[in-house]
């Protein structure tokens, strides 16, 4: 009886993990940073939650209308963002652990910038399946910051770029050259 219960629990846990991993396109493995962060954001929205949230977005508000249109084609948004009071809390291994999952042929890096002055690294990776974009990964790190985002679904890159023009930010130019680096 006890064995059956253990097996059922293990199976349920495995199913739950599979669902999470299936929804999210790569693992973040950043839980150890949460305890050290002064500020942290954890967004985890699957397809159902996005659709549900979409019903509460006001189509008359320009920002919300744009977001509503964008999320209608998405299957999930997963973000982990940490801010630290001191430098050196996160390690290169943390970044590499995420970056190593974003490999060809599924993933390709379309933008990568490194600022030696600000010690910032920003990368955008795109997941392609059968010639279609099925996900985007954004990695943004600074001395006191670590952010990873995975936007799952048929992401329209133009709309995603337009996001930069919302919330009071200037619009991101389209057709930017990939892989530019500043050292």
């Amino acid at each position: 009886m006890k064995l059956t219960r253990t097996l059922v629990l293990t199976w349920a846990t495995a199913c739950a993990l599979c669902t999470i991993l299936w929804a999210q396109q790569f693992q973040f493995n950043l839980d150890h940073l949460a305890a050290k962060a002064s500020d942290s954001v954890d967004v985890s929205l699957n397809s159902g939650m996005l659709q549900f949230a979409g019903k509460f977005l006001d189509g008359k508000d320009p920002d919300e209308a744009q977001v509503k249109k964008l999320i209608s084609r998405l299957e999930g948004i997963y973000i982990k963002s940490f801010e630290f009071k001191e430098e050196g809390v996160w390690s290169q291994a943390d970044l590499d652990r995420v970056r190593n999952q974003l490999k060809a042929p599924e993933w390709s890096r379309i933008v990568g910038t490194t600022s030696a002055e600000d010690k910032e690294t920003l990368e955008v990776h795109v997941r392609n399946q059968n010639g279609k974009v099925t996900g985007v990964a954004i990695l943004a790190t600074g001395p006191k910051e670590f952010t990873v985002a995975n936007i799952v679904g048929a992401v329209d890159l133009d709309s995603l770029a337009d996001l930069g023009g919302h919330f009071g930010l200037p619009s991101m130019e389209k057709g930017t050259e990939p892989q530019k680096k500043k050292k």
């Binding site: 967004v43 929205l45 549900f52 949230a53 973000i79 954004i138 919330f167 991101m172 680096k181």
Partner: protein, 97 residues
């Protein structure tokens, strides 16, 4: 002091109530309970309907709260994503210049 004792005995002495006292008491108590708890006077179906309405309202309120929370999460996610993309744009502009 005899007169005082007599008066007290008469005032505090046991007296038999009138024959209709019990009936009048029960009737009065019944009237009072109805007045104190008017809900009890409502038909049961009305109470059930009120309960259903309260539960439905609470459910709708909770659902609305959940929806607003999900919306806030989406807006936060978009704000973070937009900020990061904007920073990339700024850095690339810097490279061009």
């Amino acid at each position: 002091m005899d007169w005082l004792e007599d008066e007290l005995k008469q005032a505090l002495g046991r007296k038999q109530p009138s024959p209709d006292f019990e009936a009048r008491l029960i009737a009065a108590a019944g009237r009072r309970s109805v007045l104190r708890f008017p809900v009890l006077a409502m038909p049961r179906w009305l109470a059930a309907a009120a309960a259903v309405l309260v539960i439905t309202g609470a459910g709708a309120g909770y659902r609305h709260h959940q929806g607003e929370a999900a919306k806030e999460q989406v807006m936060l996610a978009m704000r973070i994503t937009g900020q990061k993309l904007n920073r990339i744009q700024m850095q690339m502009k810097g490279v061009r210049q």
